[in-house]
């Protein structure tokens, strides 16, 4: 338990130090040292847990309990006041209203019913927690290290602007602390507290640049997440008033005894859906792309949005063919399909990544909604692979942007000549997102099978069509980047050392995650499923058999070895490309009809007519709203 407290308090301390540090070198030292310590501590937690097994933690000292409760309440009230004031200041009254409703509601509950309920075990460490802790502790800190280099460039590009980097790093580390708290909470009130802190970190980081667009988008994110938070608060009240408990483990145990848990499950899933930027709430994540890239990588792809799916996966044993399961499956499925479609029409790399993130979260959510151990396996594997791969891709795009001056995929042609190492890392990331032997595809395979077994035909079709389109948008990006163009200057040397460290480490993580997945599937994920799912005590029938897993590992080894052996090695004579006989010999230009020199310019395919962003969002949001409306009206109908 000491490690848990350390993981929550140490990043907090680091955050406070970083708020005070104004000097570049000192900040670098603090960030790197803190990252190493946090990473080590999260590994320590995993190792400890591996030897001791699942545990609920009980805080014996009443005094500490009291202090924690009071501190949390005090902070909550302060935050609510801040949000309220900011909402008034920026004329975003909805945000103020939500804060004004939510916090008093929670306070009233805690003062009345809440204090009568004894929470025995406020903290929990199980294998799912360990996985999340490792993601936050390793991927998260790597992103912080990357941010050191990135923010130097960021400051240089925005010269004249006041240096607000202390604030930025304060928020990053505060967020890490909140994430550790969130994933280890068993007490719903505690989890809610950390949940709201991550929301606020996200709010401040999106609005970091203070441009009107950023402020606008930050409030959109805030309002949507507060809406989800309202769902969370209601769920807490329902749990407290109806079931006399505030512990997730208790709720899960009661459900296994046959007590109906529909209302809290639906409300908590609703909170998760908002946090995980599922439709109809996906627009906040797209808007969040105005934030500096490390923010996007850390909060909006690999960790914070995973908090939403983390909660839903936790509740997965209670889902399936019931109201909660229906809502989660359909919202996830619709989001996966429509977000994948919308990604096709995007040329801004960060927006492609954002839509792909929303889509993959949708798939995770849908799998969790299926509510079988095999589906949950797919969901957990997707969380792992997506976290490492997507953060790598975000950071690659960030580095590319600072060096080629654009985050547009169209401007990335010939990246292999301009920034060979970065292009290689990016290629690894993109391939890992959709090609055969890599992890994401393995999880997709398991997801597909689990969904088919569930018998939900619409969901089957969503996944089938969504995956086909996924291939299209990654394929064309990959193609654009691998195009070999003559006469491009190598500009790679300007990249900061911190960025290289983080990028290479993340790539190594992707490779390791892909190569060793049969092992941790067997040692960590399957044992979790066996304890979490009452009908899987004897074992889990996995979609991907262990034979197939090892076949995939061999294939990955092959796909890594082949380039080492053959890539770029040719004895053949290199000749110019075909340009209808009118090429000028440099592969870049040809003689036009009026005998003048014309540059060749090749553009990708965005299929606006089919997959236009606005249209896809309209359809997806409408459909998801219909699902939510059906769910809630049935819920109300059932209660009345």
């Amino acid at each position: 338990m000491a490690v848990i407290f350390f993981l929550i308090l140490f990043p907090l301390a680091a955050a406070l130090i970083l708020l005070a540090v104004k000097n570049d070198t000192a900040r670098g030292v603090v960030v790197i040292a803190a990252s190493v310590v946090i990473g080590a501590a999260s590994v320590l937690l995993a190792v400890q847990h591996y030897f001791s097994g699942d545990a609920l933690y009980h805080i014996a000292d009443e005094f500490i309990n009291e202090i924690v409760e009071y501190a949390m309440t005090a902070i909550e009230v302060c935050l609510a006041v801040i949000v309220f004031a900011l909402g008034i200041k920026h004329k975003k009254y909805l945000a103020s209203a939500l804060a004004a409703v939510q916090t008093p509601l929670m306070l009233w509950f805690e003062r009345s019913t809440g204090r009568l309920i004894e929470v025995k075990n406020p903290l929990v460490v199980d294998n799912l927690t360990v996985i999340m802790t490792l993601i936050v502790g390793i991927v998260g800190t790597l992103i912080c290290v990357y941010a050191l280099g990135y923010m130097k460039d960021f400051q240089r590009h925005n010269h004249g602007a006041p240096d607000r980097r202390p604030w930025f790093f304060f928020l990053l580390f505060l967020f890490l602390a909140a994430m550790f708290g969130l994933v280890t909470s068993n007490n719903l009130v505690w989890m809610y507290f950390f949940w709201e802190i991550t929301t606020l970190c996200s709010f401040f980081l999106i609005g970091f640049t203070k441009t009107p667009e950023a402020v606008n988008n930050s409030f959109r994110a805030l309002i949507m997440n507060l809406l989800g938070g309202l769902g969370f608060a209601l769920a807490i009240m329902v749990a407290g008033n109806w079931y006399q408990t505030l512990e997730i483990s208790q709720l899960l145990a009661m459900a296994q005894q046959g007590i109906d848990m529909t209302v809290p499950v639906v409300l908590l899933s609703f909170a998760g859906i908002a946090k995980a930027a599922q439709m109809p709430f996906n627009s906040w994540l797209l808007g969040a792309m105005v934030a500096p890239t490390p923010t996007s990588a850390l909060l909006h792809s690999s960790t914070m949005v995973k908090a939403g799916v983390f909660l839903i996966v936790k509740l997965s044993p209670l889902m399936g063919w019931n109201l909660g399961g229906f809502m989660v499956m359909m919202v996830g499925g619709i989001t996966f399909l429509m977000a994948s479609f919308a990604a096709v029409s995007q040329s801004n790399a960060k927006r492609v990544l954002a839509y792909s993130t929303v889509a993959n979260l949708g798939l995770i959510v849908a799998c969790a909604g299926v509510g079988t151990p095999a589906a949950a396996w797919a969901a957990v594997m997707l969380i792992i692979f997506h976290a490492v791969t997507k953060s790598l891709l975000f950071l690659c795009v960030g580095t590319a942007e600072h060096n080629i001056g654009s985050r547009d995929i169209e401007d990335m042609d010939g990246l292999f000549d301009r920034m060979p190492r970065l292009a290689a890392l990016m290629t690894a990331g993109i391939s890992a997102m959709f090609l055969a032997p890599f992890g994401m595809l393995v999880s997709k395979w398991a997801a597909l099978q689990a969904v088919v077994v569930s018998g939900n035909l619409p969901l089957v079709l969503f996944v089938v069509f969504g995956s086909s389109v996924t291939l299209f948008y990654w394929g064309k990006w990959l193609g654009k980047m691998t195009a070999v163009m003559a006469g491009r200057e190598n500009i790679q040397r300007q990249v900061h050392a911190e960025e290289w460290t983080a990028l290479c480490a993340l790539t190594a993580l992707v490779v390791i995650a892909c190569l060793t997945f049969p092992i941790y599937s067997d040692k960590i994920v399957v044992p979790y499923l066996m304890t979490a799912f009452p009908n899987a005590r004897e074992g889990v029938a996995l979609a991907v058999s262990s034979d197939n897993m090892w076949i995939l590992v061999v294939m990955i080894a092959l796909i890594i070895l082949l380039p080492l052996m053959f890539f770029g090695k040719t004895k053949k004579k290199i000749v110019p490309i075909y340009m209808a006989g009118a090429g000028l010999g440099d592969d870049l230009s040809f003689t036009g009809a009026m005998q003048e020199k014309k540059e060749v310019s090749l553009r990708n395919w965005y299929m606006e007519g089919y997959f236009g962003e606005k249209k896809m969002n309209r359809i997806g949001v409408t459909a998801a709203c219909v699902v939510l409306a059906i769910t809630f009206s049935m819920l109300l109908g059932g209660m009345l």
């Binding site: 090609l435 995956s467 086909s468 291939l471 070999v484 294939m555 092959l558 053949k572 490309i577």
Partner: protein, 296 residues
């Protein structure tokens, strides 16, 4: 892995080029006859292949050959998994990887013709992929397994349950065999707006590798057709082989009776077929299993 699996994989790796080449030879001969011509010798595809090996080795960049080599290797692996009785999903995903390698090879040249061919190839993959996945899902719902070995060992031939899916699969075979009206990314016929599309910048041995991987792919695809009919008995094996030949003949016939269509029609029609033929078939299967408790 048992002996039969090992033998079939070895047979596939060794014989598929011969069978694929012969099939291509028949294709050209039959096409010629349909057009009232005599046509080339039956072994013409082999002459072409060996001729390509004799040509001067040139390339447009240092990496293209690598991608094409990977494409060939993964195409062989795809068929290998299939004939070893492996999982259909693994087979489909590996096939996709092979195709993406070819697309990347074309993109890497940065040639206008090859790049447009490559993006059209991606479009075609997007068009046929849903139907291919639905096919695998159909097999899974009927037999509770994605494994080719389990499917083929079952006494009930799949076509009884998957008639709609079979039709849908034959429909997208037109794209996979690169036949008109859907030979958007590259065509075996001369004179088109894209020169040779995807393969414009490949020459000599590289082009030979592409040709060879097509042969491997075609045989593997016919294996898919075979799977709809096979149940291990001689009678159905004969029927299955006949069905493969008939399907291939049908594709040749379509090839010769249609001009190329626009890409919109390729996407729309493949997706509509996947939704109707495939989706309805799945719906019926689900009803049969969940509604009436039927099953194989």
């Amino acid at each position: 892995m048992n002996t039969t699996a090992i033998i079939s994989v070895i047979a596939y790796v060794a014989l598929a080029p011969a069978a694929g080449g012969l099939l291509a030879g028949f294709d050209r001969k039959i096409s010629a006859r349909m057009q009232g011509r005599v046509g080339p010798p039956l072994l013409q595809p082999f002459y072409d292949l060996f001729k390509l090996l004799e040509k001067e080795p040139v390339t447009v960049n240092r990496v293209q050959d690598f991608y094409v080599l990977c494409c060939l290797i993964f195409m062989i692996i795809t068929g290998g998994f299939f004939f070893a009785g492996g999982s259909l999903l693994l087979v489909i995903f590996t096939l996709t990887t092979a195709s993406v390698f070819m697309v990347v090879a074309a993109y890497s040249s940065n040639s206008p013709y090859a790049q447009i061919g490559a993006s059209r190839e991606l479009l075609q993959i997007m068009a046929y992929e849903p139907m291919v996945l639905i096919t695998a899902i159909g097999f899974f719902i009927v037999y509770r397994s994605f494994n080719v070995a389990d499917i083929i060992a079952h006494p009930a031939p799949a076509v009884h349950y998957l008639a709609g899916i079979f039709l849908g699969f034959v429909f997208i075979l037109t794209i996979k065999f690169r036949k008109s009206p859907f030979d958007l990314s590259m065509s075996h016929h001369a004179h088109q707006e894209l020169v040779k599309g995807l393969t414009t910048e490949f020459s000599g041995k590289t082009l030979a590798m592409i040709e060879l991987s097509h042969w491997y792919e075609n045989i593997f695809l016919l294996g898919f057709v075979f799977l709809f009919f096979a149940n291990g008995t001689t009678q159905w094996t004969v029927i299955a082989v006949l069905a493969c030949l008939l399907a291939y003949f049908l594709e040749i016939f379509i090839d010769n009776s249609y001009a190329r269509m626009k890409w919109q029609i390729a996407v729309n029609s493949s997706w509509i077929v996947a939704l109707t033929a495939g989706g309805v078939n799945l719906l019926v299967l689900y009803f049969a299993i969940f509604g009436f408790g039927l099953g194989v």
